[in-house]
């Protein structure tokens, strides 16, 4: 295993934590931790997906009619924005791997900008729904006629996109933290765990949206 050699090697990084043997063990532990966290996130979202499928099965006509109330163009725009932010996030990690400091900062900044665009678009969507009374559960007050249980469709819509939106907001916060650290030049080929793991988180947020978009906006 060559502990002694690795130990000496790990001395390079000021971010080495001494209960680990070396930087590789530290990085792979952090990454496994992140994957477990993502597994947890998948189960977290799964309940809402379950609610979606069950009520869709019970009220197919509601789902069919109600989904036309959502703006597929805005949803599509947000999909492209998030996919692009995923690309820039991946490029930011790559920039750390190849020691390109300036590129890290640029890519992170673009990622954050995309996240804000996503939220702004979401804001306009929400405002239009709220204006029409297309709201969850008891708050539902839409004057038009949607068969079945439209309250539940909008409950599912707001819960799913709302929880996703909260994840985007949390993502923005940690991305800013990364941006500051990247600006200070903390990340390089030998240490970029925070960048990599935030990246994984951000891609998962993207993954969830990849399913939300067709399920809510498009599906018949």
């Amino acid at each position: 295993m060559g502990h002694a050699a690795d130990h000496a090697h790990s001395g390079h990084s000021p971010f080495f934590q001494h209960h680990f043997i070396d930087m590789r063990q530290q990085a792979s532990s952090a990454k496994l931790g992140m994957w477990l966290f993502l597994a947890q996130e998948v189960l977290f979202f799964s309940v809402l997906f379950m609610a979606y499928f069950i009520f869709r099965t019970l009220y197919p006509e509601t789902w069919l009619v109600a989904h036309y109330k959502l703006d597929a163009a805005l949803g599509g725009l947000n999909t492209v924005v998030l996919l692009f932010s995923s690309l820039t996030m991946a490029l930011a990690v790559r920039a750390a791997q190849v020691n390109a400091k300036k590129q890290q900062v640029i890519m992170l900044a673009v990622t954050i900008a995309c996240a804000f665009v996503f939220l702004v678009v979401k804001y306009f969507e929400y405002m239009s729904k709220i204006g029409k009374g297309l709201l969850p559960g008891n708050l539902y007050s839409y004057s038009g006629d949607i068969p079945g249980a439209p309250e539940l469709f909008f409950t599912v819509y707001f819960c799913m996109t709302g929880l996703h939106g909260i994840h985007v907001v949390a993502g923005i916060i940690v991305l800013f933290w990364l941006l500051i650290r990247a600006g200070k030049g903390h990340f390089n080929s030998g240490y970029y765990s925070p960048m990599e793991n935030v990246g994984l988180y951000w891609h998962l947020v993207d993954l969830v949206w990849i399913f939300l978009f067709p399920l809510l906006y498009l599906v018949k």
């Binding site: 499928f53 991946a90 891609h203 067709p214």
Partner: protein, 145 residues
């Protein structure tokens, strides 16, 4: 330790082209999903949309999230989370859809809305039949002449 394809921690460095190609593919898939939703595919629309979404998810997980080059166990973690979601979904759905299995005509599982919807559908069908019958009668009358 670091060479053109690996960083100091021994992780794989993907070439830039890979990232751009994946992003391109994701855009194509997005357009495809949209196109599928416009075309009238009936019962196939949903499975196709899901297959496309899974393809996109696969691309993101494999290349953007580096699962292709990652430790196998991380793949196991992610796949097992999906497995347990499917267990969760499978059992809950066999219950929800199977509650009326024994004597459905007696309504083990009835929401008022459903009853209303069924009644409305039946009324509409009856009305349609009545008009159709009326037309047939009219046609029959025509023939008589």
């Amino acid at each position: 330790m670091a060479d053109a394809h690996h960083d100091e921690l021994g992780a794989h460095i993907s070439p830039l082209q890979t990232y751009f190609a994946v992003f391109g593919a994701l855009l194509v898939f997005t357009v495809l999903t949209y196109a599928v939703s416009l075309a009238d595919l009936g019962p196939f629309a949903f499975p196709i949309a899901m297959v496309v979404a899974f393809c996109k998810a696969f691309l993101v997980a494999t290349f953007f999230m580096h699962l292709k080059y990652d430790e196998r166990f991380n793949v196991v973690v992610f796949v097992s989370s999906l497995f347990f979601v499917s267990v969760f979904a499978f059992f809950t759905i066999i219950d929800v859809t199977g509650r009326g299995a024994l004597r459905p005509e007696e309504g083990y599982y009835v929401f008022q809305e459903e009853l209303d919807a069924i009644a409305a559908m039946e009324a509409a069908a009856a009305a349609e039949e009545a008009t159709a019958a009326g037309e047939e009668e009219a046609e029959a009358d025509d023939d008589d002449h």
